[in-house]
């Protein structure tokens, strides 16, 4: 049965939504509605749409996360960074843009999500953050992830 917008809204509406379960239940047919919701005025739904797109990990997920990553509201961009970490292979350009976000909370989650990315560009950006991010706790977080990058990725 095709996924409908009401189905997607029902999955996103609870106070404690089960987004992993919703992804399994709804499938990639939810993506067009997530694109709509991530651009919408309800920030709760926009954030959850980004997270659900990450759990879906389908071909349309990146578009949802890209849109979330460009919202002006930091809380939605944080959701984009968390959602990117749910993808098996987050695209480098998305992770790099999130690593360069002005909000430290977005950078925090982008660093965590970058652990899933193999590539010199992301590794270099992590090293730069570890060396020169204005927030000391972000520098520490990046440094702890830099070790993984040093040993595992190239």
């Amino acid at each position: 049965m095709p996924t409908t917008k009401p189905d997607v809204l029902t999955a996103l509406f609870p106070d404690e939504p089960d987004l992993k379960g919703a992804a399994e239940q709804l499938g990639p047919g939810a993506i067009p509605y997530l694109v709509e919701l991530v651009n919408g005025p309800d920030l709760h739904l926009a954030s959850r749409a980004a997270l659900l797109a990450g759990w879906l990990d389908s071909s349309g997920s990146v578009e949802v996360l890209e849109r979330a990553s460009t919202r002006s509201e930091p809380a939605v961009r944080v959701a984009a960074a968390v959602g990117a970490g749910k993808l098996r292979r987050p695209p480098t350009h998305l992770v790099v843009s999130l690593l360069e976000d002005p909000d430290p909370g977005v950078r925090k989650w982008a660093i965590k999500s970058a652990a899933h990315v193999r590539g010199a560009e992301v590794n270099e950006r992590i090293r730069q953050i570890a060396d020169s991010d204005p927030e000391s706790w972000i520098r520490s977080l990046a440094a702890s992830h830099k070790h993984g990058a040093d040993s595992g990725f190239s």
Partner: protein, 197 residues
């Protein structure tokens, strides 16, 4: 000279009105705008269980030590993460079985709120409004979501009144309700006690 109690002090005074009370502490890493309405709703629905809610303290947690917790890693919502442990360690003014409600910017699970009953705490996103605060305090005191509950599609198509609904408290119209079983569970929770104690 002894001054009469202000209305606010009278309402918040422990021991008044109810046979059981719960003391809560509000700790803000980020404060939203809907808090007063949420507190009012929480008191209203807990009053139906003859449980009084006293806000024992409000504290604003800011500075570098808290910046890293603003967007909190809550993993799957069941496991207690290192960040949650760090947050829960902030217990100024908390005594005995008081409940602590922490307000952050985002929870990584996408939840508006999450309760960790074993610790007597709940975490809420700052933009939380309506009945969510009462819902999470309800979880801390015992009740889970109703078993076998079917959520309507679209949401809110069928009327919802139960505070502990798993379909979204935003769908509650009018006054939220508690079942007798939920009330009994909450009143026997270790986090409630006879008022005035």
């Amino acid at each position: 000279m002894t001054l009469p109690l202000s209305l606010k002090a009278f309402i918040q005074a422990p021991g008044c009105f109810h046979s059981r009370c719960v003391r809560i502490h509000l700790k803000f890493l980020k404060e939203g705008s809907g808090l007063n309405d949420s507190l009012r709703k929480m008191r209203l629905v807990f009053k139906t269980a003859d449980i009084g809610v006293t806000v024992a303290s409000r504290e604003y947690l800011s500075g570098p030590a808290f910046d890293s917790l603003l967007d909190l890693d809550v993993a799957n919502g069941v496991t207690i993460t290192a960040e949650m442990e760090q947050l829960f360690s902030n217990r100024n003014f908390v005594v005995g079985n008081d409940v602590v409600l922490y307000f952050v910017r985002t929870l990584s699970l996408g939840a508006a709120g999450l309760a960790t009953r074993s610790r007597g705490v709940a975490m809420l996103e700052f933009w939380t409004s309506g009945w969510t605060l009462a819902h999470e305090l309800g979880h801390v005191l015992g009740p889970d979501h109703p078993t076998g509950e079917q959520c309507s599609s679209p949401p809110c198509a069928a009327p919802i009144s139960r505070l502990m609904t798993g379909c979204g408290t935003a769908c509650i119209e009018g006054m939220a309700t508690l079942t007798p079983d939920e009330i009994a569970m909450m009143r026997s929770s270790p986090f409630t006690s006879p008022c005035g104690q």
